[in-house]
Amino acid sequence: MAELDSKIPEGPIAEKWDKHRFNLKLINPANKRKYRVIVVGSGLAGASAAASLAELGFQVACFCYQDSARRAHSIAAQGGINAAKNYQNDGDSIYRLFYDTVKGGDFRAREANVYRLAQVSNNIMDQCVAQGVPFAREYGGCLDNRSFGGAQVSRTFYARGQTGQQLLLGAYSALCCQIGRGAVKMYPRHEMLDLVVIDGQARGIIARDMVSGAITRHVADAVAIGTGGYSNVFYLSTNAKGCNATAIWRAHVRGAYFANPCYTQIHPTCIPVTGEHQSKLTLMSESLRNDGRIWVPLAKEESRAPGKIPESERDYYLERKYPSFGNLAPRDISSRAAKQVCDEGRGIGKSKQGVYLDFADALKRLGRPVIEERYGNLFQMYEEITAEDPYHVPMRIFPAPHYTMGGLWVDYNLMSNLPGLHVIGEANFSDHGANRLGASALMQGLADGYFVLPYTIGDYLARAGICKAGTDHEAFKEAEEAVRGRLKKLLGKKEGKRSVDSFHRELGRLMWNGCGMGRTEASLKGALEKLPKLREAFWEEVKVPGDADHLNQELEKAGRVADLLELAELMCVDALDRSESCGGHFREESQTPDGEALRDDEHFCHVSAWEHAGAGKAPVLHKEPLKFDYVHLQTRSYK
């Protein structure tokens, strides 16, 4: 197995990417068309990569599980995308975006990657505008900005409350153009169920046609996975119902290291859980914190309606604790603060698991039309879900699982330790450290797909050459048989007593309690004891009706939950190993006297990359040390 070499180029940080690009091997245009690349995923990362690679001349095959590439989960992003344009003249720069992101990630990201991300952020904006993405504009016709958490400049670009949708439709349009030309072959309703590795190199995938059930083999010279995050391990999350970890987990089992699986982000502003029936949680965009003020009553067990509680009896706890960032404190900090006040018994709503997000002041200051223009669709969605009108009563919000900073380990070229396997977007671990700042995931997905992978994958292809093997190779046969075996096993318990969802719910509860917003040695050990039993029960008792030769949504879910059950264990192992707190990973044993995350740089200033050692065996830890030459290690403060 390859050594963990992050391949960070030498030289001053501002010159690394330029120099590196110059040193990358090129393939001449006539030869590019001989190379085949598989892109799994059509979200911001996958669609932008597939389109850009096809423009360069490679033969591209792109897969997604939805019925159309346009429906990838990136579509749901509401708030915005960061770029260091400094259009507001408020002191932004590439360096500041870099600095904010490294600090926001609590010093657990690679400096070189983050710097590159900040550099290309500006190209992304140019590209998206040229594609016709209808960003919000000022009256003079220039692009408008808003503020997001963890930054004191306004660098977030947006398209109403539908930024992800518009960016994805932009990337999808670029993809359409290439599909129309025949340069990309699109496979919607196809789910990748395994990775094919030939002589140590990723050379293809096994997919299932979700309509006919056909299991198909796909060979290529390189594979790029952009299949998004794994927050659905918590069952209730802000992710779409179909979001899953199957592609990355299967790749992990085939040899790709999984980095920092315990870094998960709990988003502070989501609509609270109302009951058992709930199938997912709905995010209320962070952008609302530009104008909304977060508070809880000062008194415990407060029973008055919010409007009846006078100012003097309210605790605007973020403004109180973090005066310089106030309601725009970063996500990990805001979420924990909400949990703290609820743990103190000052939570609101029926379940007491909620805090107010109040627009009364903003409505007074700006008037309803302005608020409507900024957040109209979010207010409408909130009202539809809760039957309460946020123009008149404050929103009730609570933290919810939202994003996963962990993912497959990649080097500076976005290639995993498995040669040929590239990982982009939320599926990799790279740029956000232990906490992602708002509006940075869209930026990273598009950076990876438009401006990084198209360069670096060419270098790999030029060196590795064209795969001589075809889909009749033994490795394809073996992988296909493994897939068929798993499907058969999932369908085998017709007398089983429990549905897939009942297991998924139980897994979610277990993970929320054991490896959620606060983690302790005891909670993690408890989860690690329960998980193997739950997994065993799953394989014994899960009841999946129907067969594998038809559209079978229960079977799809069952396969995903089976993989989440395994990933969950690795998350807990990682969380237990990392006995420090950092960013979204809060080990309750490791906190400052005032309850902030306490890092242990002496022992944990590294990336934890886990190697799969085989079923039933303990995973093997590889450490990639992190060096901070520019943003010096310091206690993160937003006070």
Partner: protein
């Protein structure tokens, strides 16, 4: 709340399909329509029967996956709402609710409520883009766009491609969908170079895909979850005439 669901059940494309009654008991008003279907499906699974297949993903009204004709109306009784954002509090206890898939020649049923909307993608492949190579774009603020025009382009761009417009149209015409995309690009300066070619190519593929023509029944506007307006269809027609006159 308790309901009787009358649901279209069809195993695959070759099965003729039929309406089947299912009970939906113990439903809470705060459940979404899809959560109500989840409850029904859990019961079916317990009994060893196959659950009702329906497309869904985001459950936030933005991905455009979900959709069914509920009591004769695409996405159900509430205006400007996707099926996943429709809550059971809008129904009356004891109601009989009929649930059918989108019906259109261009959208073959795959199973139960799932249909193949690939024809909408094919329209997009034909011209639903501005050709701009990655890396070749000019500085983002180089072309100022007046706010009212940017806003109007955004109104059009809000289309989620769910296909309700086709399902609601007596002719199964995709013109609201098509006009939204054509209008977005025709409004923006970036879209000008391919303006004529784009509309001609997209309309040609729509016509070849088994969709019907628009005769302004306006049913589409009534069911559109994103409030895409009929005026975009007028714009599409003008764009088409303009394109033909220019060539």
């Amino acid at each position: 709340m308790n309901f009787t669901l009358r649901v279209w059940r069809q195993k695959d494309a070759s099965d003729p399909g039929r309406m089947v009654d299912h009970r939906a008991d113990g439903i809470i008003p705060d459940m979404s329509f899809l959560e109500m279907l989840d409850v029904v499906n859990q019961k079916l699974i317990e009994k060893g029967e196959e659950p009702i297949a329906f497309d869904h993903d985001c459950r936030e009204g933005i991905c455009g996956c979900c959709g069914a004709v509920v009591n004769g109306t695409a996405h159900g009784p509430l205006p400007a709402t996707t099926l996943c954002q429709l809550y059971m509090r809008h129904f009356r206890d004891g109601d009989v609710i009929t649930i059918e898939p989108w019906r259109a020649k261009a959208f073959p049923v795959l199973r139960d409520l799932c249909v193949d909307r690939g024809a909408l993608d094919r329209i997009m492949y034909a011209g639903g883009y501005i050709t701009v190579r990655t890396g070749s774009a000019a500085e983002a603020n180089a072309i100022p766009i007046p706010k009212p025009i940017a806003d109007r382009a955004m109104d059009a761009a809000a289309c989620i491609g769910c296909g309700a417009c086709v399902a609601a149209c007596p002719n199964a015409s995709p013109m609201l969908f098509l006009s939204a995309k054509v209008s977005q690009y025709a409004l923006l300066p970036q879209g000008q170079p391919e303006r004529e070619l784009r509309v001609k190519k997209m309309v040609a593929v729509a016509e070849a895909s088994g969709f019907g023509a628009c005769s302004v029944h306006a049913e589409c506007e009534g069911v559109c979850p994103k409030n895409i307006k009929l005026t975009f269809i007028s714009k599409l027609n003008r764009e088409l005439i303009r394109a033909h006159l220019k060539s």
